[in-house]
């Protein structure tokens, strides 16, 4: 299965995402933000970093990059997309996911190993987990506070759109401890924590992050 990883100017974690795809057993495909060709990939990962310097707003300019037009178009047709950290910010700015990510409530960059509660184990990117499972992956952000209007948050909770929630402390003041959300069809998922940094015992706090990448491969086999 070909899984594209987009590099924007300012992406930092694209190499780790490529490595995570490979460790999970997928074929990583490097994609470049200025192209418009998705190179026949079966799924796309938007990695962490500071795309375009995060000038204007985090992810705002990247969301309007040429390749993102293709991602948005294909996502509406069911292409699975995973946005991690800056990638989550890009997906919200592109309108593929609801809400927005804003400056952390305490104004500090927060970098630590983070507990997460998996609430949806049936999206394209989370079938390797079980509902209610607690996992640990690194979180590292300065603008990771998930916000939306209260009525919108109520709607999202009602529709079960929260994929992962912070457990053991909220690192950035996110509304209702929300760490990640999904599109209505469960194909597009975004989260602030970094599963691609938790794929090997040598470098991560766990190998829990690998589950996101094995999930999408399992989805391809089942399809």
């Amino acid at each position: 299965m070909r899984i594209g990883v987009i590099t924007f100017p300012g992406s930092l974690d694209d190499v780790d995402a490529v490595r995570a795809v490979r460790l999970a057993g997928g074929e990583p495909v490097a994609l470049w933000h200025a192209d418009d060709d998705l190179r026949a990939v079966d799924a796309v990962v938007l990695p962490g970093g500071f795309s375009y310097g995060d000038y204007l707003r985090a992810g705002a300019i990247a969301a309007r990059a040429p390749l993102m037009r293709s991602v948005v178009e294909r996502a509406h047709q069911g292409l699975p997309v995973l946005g991690i950290c800056n990638g989550f910010q890009v997906l919200c700015e592109a309108g593929l996911l609801p809400g927005a990510l804003t400056r952390n409530s305490h104004l500090h960059f927060r970098n630590r190993d983070q507990g997460l509660l998996v609430e949806r184990a049936d999206t394209a990117w989370t079938t390797s987990f079980t509902t209610g499972q607690q996992i640990v992956v690194p979180v590292k952000n300065g603008e990771g506070r998930y916000v939306a209007a209260d009525a919108e948050l109520d709607r999202l909770e009602g529709e079960g759109r929260v994929v992962v929630r912070y457990a053991g402390g909220n690192p950035n003041g996110s509304s209702r401890d929300i760490a990640g959300v999904t599109s209505a069809d469960g194909r597009v998922v975004g989260l602030m924590p970094h599963p691609e940094h938790a794929v090997e015992d040598l470098t991560g706090p766990s190998v829990d992050g690998l589950g996101f990448f094995t999930s999408i491969l399992a989805a391809a086999v089942a399809a």
Binding site: A100, N104, V147, A149
Partner: protein, 81 residues
């Protein structure tokens, strides 16, 4: 061709908390300005455009790129002098 200046002010919606504004408010208190009750921080864009400003186009620019309508409100000021 005449150049016109257009100003776009972007502020967080009232229901979205503004920790940056709150940090400024805290500093004002320490500087001896206890009478300032609230600070909301925003962005101020100055655009110079050729010819007569097209309000619809400028509103599109403001609402699709300069601001994120999910969390921010926009004020457009066309200056024709």
């Amino acid at each position: 061709m005449a150049v016109h200046q257009v100003v776009v002010d972007v502020v967080l919606k009232p229901e979205i908390s503004d920790p940056q504004g709150q940090a400024v408010l805290g500093a004002l208190g320490r500087l001896g300005h206890p009478g300032v009750r609230s600070v909301r921080q925003g962005k101020h864009f100055v655009l110079e455009v050729d010819g007569d400003p097209d309000e619809a186009e400028l509103r599109e620019i403001a609402e699709t790129l300069l601001a994120n309508p999910v969390i921010e409100d926009v004020e457009l000021h066309l200056r024709n002098d």
